[in-house]
């Protein structure tokens, strides 16, 4: 019996239909056939719905980088192109499951995913389960942005690699920075009521207690994620608490609304954040946020250290004038995965995973980064940058405002212990 691939070939009747209606006369027939089968990698993030802007930017960066480094230069592994397959998970754990099944149905074995730790956790569990039950069809999770520490600690997996510093690493550096500021005597913590918000809260309290016991935590607030109309009532509490600084793990609209409410209330205190830049946030904060908003992130912001990195940004801007390189770690992840493939001359996830372990790699920005083998966590320099319009060579949202690095910590100082007890598959 003929196996019917109905679901993936739906368009062919339509194609015929278009052909008979005579449209063909003015159109060039498309020809993307290549000699060798492409290496397919999935990009699974929200591409529609509320969170879509972050996902679409990430997709654009990955696709651009694939083209920039490899496809335009004849491909990898002796002439194979890389094909990025976008999978829209709408940032929902449910949809992630469905899209994962689509990925394995199309025999994709590498999945890039970054947004939402809840999704990353789901994907991690799903992949572990799938790989255990289907030996020979394993899938690799390339996590470029989900920062819940548990992914490389208690729930660490051989099939998961993280290319971003996790929340505790970032908070470790951020609290060092705060602790060094003698003007800060009290701190207000506010966050979305979900796992990352809670990690930020718990860890901040713990670390500040160790580093600066004199700093008083004058508020520790959780608000429901994505449901707050108006942050002013929260800001009222911040004002009346007399806090010298605010720390928040908010992202998206919750981040913008919170920051604007704080600034609108006339409160002139620093706001320490993780995600207060790009995708419209920088433009919206604009002048009012200048010098007040600080971000902790891995890699570098302005000034970019090398000419290659600058050129990459410029070329990207030409191709995509309305997007920014928001997450250079996507590029690092791609380059390291390809390096692992080239080293092993294989696209088998198991081989790639072994090659990635303890890989040291020099990024476009000239820094050396390290993928620790024991828990699959990347280590690289961490920076704290400020939202400003001075000294910004590469701005965000075409707004003239952007991030300028104020404080940097080299790789060695970012290393933290891991409780990971990895179960390694036998081959």
């Amino acid at each position: 019996m003929k196996k019917i691939q109905f679901f993936t070939r739906l368009s062919s009747p339509l194609r015929k239909l278009m052909a008979v209606t005579g449209l063909a006369s003015l159109l060039v027939l498309n020809s993307t056939s290549s000699a060798q089968e492409p290496v397919r990698i999935a990009f699974m993030d929200p591409l529609s719905g509320t969170f879509a802007s972050v996902g679409n930017t990430g997709k654009t960066i990955l696709e651009f980088a694939v083209d920039y480094f490899y496809n335009s230069k004849g491909g990898i592994l002796g002439g194979r192109m890389i094909e990025v397959v976008p999978l829209d998970n709408k940032q929902s754990p449910n949809e992630t499951q469905l899209q994962f099944r689509r990925a394995i149905s199309e025999e994709i074995q590498i999945i890039f995913q970054g947004n939402s730790s809840a999704v990353a956790n789901t994907l991690n569990q799903t992949i572990s389960r799938h790989n255990r039950r289907n030996p020979g069809q394993e899938v690799l999770q390339i996590n470029y942005s989900a920062v819940d520490p548990i992914l490389t600690e208690d729930n660490c997996s051989f099939w998961h690699f993280r290319f971003d510093a996790h929340a505790n690493m970032k908070l470790n550096i951020l609290t060092d920075y705060i602790a060094a500021d003698p003007n800060i005597k009290s701190m207000y913590i506010i966050g979305q009521d979900y796992s990352f918000g809670q990690v930020v809260s718990d860890t901040t309290i713990k670390l500040l207690n160790e580093k600066r016991p004199d700093i008083e935590i004058v508020g520790n607030e959780f608000h429901p994620i994505g449901q707050v109309k108006d942050f002013t009532p929260y800001v009222t509490k911040i004002v009346s608490s007399g806090a010298d600084a605010v720390i928040t793990g908010n992202f998206g609209a919750d981040m913008v609304s919170l920051a604007r409410s704080i600034i609108d209330s006339g409160l002139d205190i620093p706001i320490y954040t993780f995600y207060a830049a790009y995708d419209g946030i920088t433009a919206t904060l604009g002048e009012s946020g200048k010098g007040k908003i600080r971000l902790i992130h891995n890699g570098v912001a302005n000034p970019l250290p090398t000419e290659e990195r600058k050129q990459f940004n410029r070329d990207f801007k030409i191709a995509h004038p309305n997007n920014d390189i928001t997450q250079p770690r996507i590029v690092n992840a791609l380059q390291m995965v390809v390096k692992a493939m080239e080293e092993t001359q294989s696209t088998d996830p198991y081989d790639i995973a072994l090659a990635l372990e303890d890989m040291r790699f020099t990024t476009l920005g000239g820094e050396e980064i390290w993928m620790r083998g024991e828990d699959h966590q990347i280590f690289q320099q961490l920076s704290i940058s400020v939202h400003t319009d001075e000294g910004v060579e590469f701005d965000a949202d075409n707004s003239g405002y952007g991030l300028v690095t104020e404080y940097q910590v080299p790789l060695e100082e970012t290393i933290v212990e891991s409780s990971c007890q990895m179960r390694r598959p036998r081959r």
Binding site: S48, T50, A52, S53, N56, D193, E221, F222, H223, P224, G226, Q227, V228, K229, D230, T232, P233, Y234, T236, K237, V239, S240, G252, A253, V256, S257, R260, S261, D264, S265, G266, L267, D279, G280, I281, A283, T284, G286, D397, S399
Partner: protein, 316 residues
């Protein structure tokens, strides 16, 4: 504590008045046409986006005037060419229609304006603190929001009680059948009310956009709350909607401002649980955390004990 209370009250009032601008239109539509307009908050969002685009070229004030007009026209068109057609298939069909409309408006906004947050700013003219109390500023823009909302309330009250059209509408809210029997052009009234109702929602969007952030999710955040207000206030009662709007605005604001929770209650009762208790989540719950669901709790309680709503004059 006093400053927290004062600001919580002010914030509650700002939110409450804003909610009333949405709820007033929805009450009119709901009471007269029996349509639970799920897309009402989407018109609010459209207002914010139109005003944003207009403000880029002509400034904030042009947006303030024209965006609600555009939204109102769109609303009237939707009523004329969409809802009226669906009307024959019954209330569930109408409701499902508005449900789909809300979905479509959100998607269209993402299509035309993109998915990121929009840099829609308050006008420079109002970019100063109105007053400073206990070190906290109350921005002039918030004062302006309140003034507009109160102005709308007064205007609406005046039109509905003094003008001929208003009296017909009032009658149509409480006795929709009778009014059509009296020979008034009910379809035209419906279209007008729908247009005005959505224009009010649009106006709310215009003035809320700069402070509450203009982004594609802004309708979802408000959507069902407005419903809740209309139901709590009671069918056919604008006054009820007004009271319910302020009630919910203040309720949420006070709940966030308060710091009490189960731990306080338990310690008052002298009970304590350790963290490992299976119901630990319940014992550590606090009021700010559940503030957003309070309106729904209120809704369920009101419906169980007083199905007509606070000031409702009729059921169904």
């Amino acid at each position: 504590m006093l400053e927290v209370f004062i600001f919580a009250t002010l914030n509650g009032l700002v939110t409450g008045f804003l909610l009333f601008m949405l709820a007033s239109g929805l009450t009119l539509i709901f009471s007269m046409m029996g349509v639970l307009n799920f897309a009402h908050a989407s018109f609010y969002m459209l207002g914010a986006y139109f005003a944003y685009s207009l403000s880029l070229y002509f400034g904030f004030w042009t947006g303030l005037i024209f965006a609600p007009l555009i939204v109102g026209t769109l609303g009237a068109l939707v009523e004329r060419y969409g809802l009226r057609k669906v009307h024959a298939s019954g209330h569930v069909a109408e409701l499902v229609f508005t449900f789909g409309l809300a979905f479509l408006i959100e998607e269209s906004i993402q299509f035309f304006w993109g998915r990121d947050t929009k840099n829609y700013q308050t006008p420079d003219l109002l970019d100063f603190p109105l007053f400073t109390l206990f070190g906290q500023e109350f921005s002039a823009y918030r004062g302006f929001m309140m003034a507009i909302s109160i102005g709308i309330f007064i205007a609406l009250y005046y039109v509905l009680t003094k003008s001929r059209v208003g009296i017909i509408i009032q009658a149509a809210i409480t006795h929709p059948q009778t009014v059509s029997n009296l020979g008034h052009n009910v379809p035209l009234i419906f279209m007008g009310v729908f247009g005005v109702g959505t224009a009010l929602a649009g106006l709310a969007g215009v003035i809320a956009g700069p402070v509450l952030t203009t982004f594609p999710g802004m309708a979802t955040v408000l959507g069902s709350i407005v419903f809740v207000i209309v139901i709590i206030g009671g069918l056919g009662s604008l006054a009820g909607a007004f009271i319910a709007s302020l009630l919910i605005g203040l309720l949420q604001s006070y709940a966030i401002a308060s710091d009490v929770g189960m731990p306080d209650l338990l310690s008052l009762l002298g009970i304590s649980f350790d963290r490992g208790h299976p119901l630990n989540d319940l014992w550590t719950m606090n009021l700010p955390q559940i503030a957003p669901v309070l309106p729904y709790l209120l809704l369920v309680l009101v419906l169980i004990f007083r199905p007509t709503g606070l000031l409702g004059k009729r059921e169904e």
